[in-house]
Symmetry: C2
Subunit: 340 residues, 2 copies
DNA sequence: CCTCGATGTTGAAACGTTTTAACGCCTGAG
DNA sequence: CTCAGGCGTTAAAACGTTTCAACATCGAGG
């Protein structure tokens, strides 16, 4: 079971040289049919499994790309990953998924490992885009859902400022003038961008900057959304926002739950806008208005960009998609009578 | 950028032999502090990255395990994966996630690749547990959320028959006598088991077998749940079930959505029970009654079992956890007046 | 002064592939 | 009968590590 049968065992068993076995494996057409059969039989019989390490050592390449994802439990990222995988398999590559779980220690470890593995390329949605961890080390890296600060590598992103603007403009047009934004930590670029968009929406509408209350969360997960909901309800009614813009749908779902539990109604007592438009947003307690991003296309494009990396005349590109607002019940205008 | 600096470049640059560099990397304590510093400096300066293929080729081992998951977009599996990863990193191993997406072609390709990569071990939730793809090939394999048919390998599972029984017993006790089960394809062991449990519940309650209508779906995803909802509503009212047991929460969420869209109320017109108790179940339009499985523990245990695989006196074990019913609004008894 | 053990370092042999250039053989053309 | 050329096969040299036995060097104990 362990004695690890190698290519030369096969060769011996089939009465040929190991080079011939290698040819059967890699260029079957070049070897005579009879010999090929004999070799294949030997492989079958001995249960030979090609040793990828050796092959790779010799060949220098590895047929594998990896996607280091920020939160594997967030459906947004699994959808992006699906896009990546589709593109990868079209190119004959396999995809390894690594979950950094927003922990830059884990992220570093995975990057290190992947570099050592000499994967063909790395896609990453980094914990912190500025971090030096992602330094060039011979393996091409493409940023996903983040913009490369310097032009030093390819990136695929969505215009988060615009997304924030769309969301908050929608709330303002629905008559809201006290709006909360829930999200965090602020070390995440996207949270900052989406907030910037939100501010821009205020400015456009001629509202003062303090019309937006920022509730910072420790992460972008459901539990944090619930907690933010409690904080929100804890505010004195006179100051309490009438609408909330959440930095992603997980937070929004948590917020929604929290509202229900505390006996407040959405959208009547609080309108809610999420971000990402994950599949569960539409199935939520109150179907969620959300900012949709082209998730699979994001992944697909990133993978394609990665594949161009080792073309000789490669120029780093920065693709930026546009988000789109999907309006559902969580922001429906009912008995809204704005304080305006 | 490409000329790939190796251990001997470092050695030369530091004025030592490559063996010493290797020692610095693997047994730092054995080399004199002064030399060590010099070598580390050289590594830093040359941007040396250890070649894992070569190391692995020599050492025969690989510090990586993999989990081939059935559907990376299903939060149930991402939670299991989290458990796996926690256990793996405690053991100093990294985890590669591979998504078979319920496609046995993909599954086969990934298994092949992982064997060739000589990963330390493979966890898998197989598309088809009986499939020969998973044949022993030198790399230990542990089944996750499936029971090993023969005792030929370790497995970690949850008692799905019991789970089905719990769900349907609950529905029966709530007064339902015409029950639908939504799930499929039947090639999936779990669907079969859960249905068997459902049947057992009928028997226990003295109901005839045809009290359960089985609606087979093509997959276990949200869209299929929606479609099943339409089929359900299409039934003549006299024969239409008053409750539905879904083989997982994704189906249940789809069903829920479909009901709402078609103007039926849950639980009044149709009670719904899901399975898995994913985080989104509680945040659904109508909070979902569901059968909870110890997701992270499932993963954690599987990883631990895998780690015992190459102990000399290893005996294959089959761990089986108990599921638990979580009752929420989707099966609340309101104006229920059973036809009994 | 010699021996011994401890401490650090090293040369060289693996590990299992792929690849290259060369080889032998056979066929058909001259 | 010879020779060019095609075809199938092979020996051997990589690829970049780790490891092992051997080797210096040095201080201490006899």
């Amino acid at each position: 079971m362990k004695p690890s049968v190698g290519i030369r065992d096969v060769a011996q068993h089939a009465g040929v040289s190991n080079a011939t076995v290698s040819n059967v494996l890699n260029r079957p057409d070049v070897v005579a049919p009879a010999t090929r059969q004999r070799v294949l039989a030997a492989i079958e019989q001995l249960g030979f499994v090609r040793n990828e390490s050796a092959r790779q050592l010799r060949a220098g390449r590895s047929r594998v790309i990896a996607y280091v994802v920020l939160d594997a439990a967030n459906p947004f990222f699994t959808d992006v990953a699906r896009g990546v995988e589709d593109a990868a398999r079209e190119a004959g590559l396999a995809l390894f998924l690594c979950n950094s779980a927003s922990d830059d220690g884990r992220e570093r470890e995975y990057l290190e490992l992947l570099h050592e593995q000499r994967v063909e390329g790395i896609l990453i949605t980094p914990v912190d885009a500025e971090s030096a961890q992602i330094a060039e080390r011979g393996t091409p890296v493409v940023l996903v859902d983040r913009e490369a600060a310097d032009g030093s590598r390819c990136s695929v992103a969505v215009d988060d400022v615009l997304g924030g603007e769309l969301a908050v403009t929608h709330l303002i047009e629905s008559g809201h003038t006290r709006i909360a934004m829930v999200g965090g930590p602020l070390s995440i670029q996207q949270v900052r961008d989406r907030r910037e968009g939100a501010m821009r929406a205020l400015t456009n509408a001629g509202l003062p900057a303090d019309a937006l209350t920022f509730l910072e969360t420790r992460s972008l997960q459901v539990a944090e959304g619930r907690e933010a909901g409690e904080r929100l309800v804890g505010l004195p009614a006179s100051r309490r926002p009438t609408a909330a813009f959440c930095a992603n749908d997980l937070l929004a779902l948590g917020l929604l739950q929290s509202m229900t539990q505390q006996g407040l109604r959405v959208p009547d007592d609080l309108a809610v806008v999420g971000y990402d438009d994950i599949e569960f947003a539409a199935a939520a307690a109150v179907p969620l208005t959300s900012v949709r991003q082209p998730r699979e296309q994001l992944g697909r494009t990133a993978a394609q960009l990665l594949l161009t990396e080792n073309e000789p005349d490669h120029e780093h590109r920065h693709v930026k998609f546009q988000p789109e607002l999907v309006v559902r019940a969580s922001t429906a205008v009912k008995r809204r009578a704005a304080t305006t």
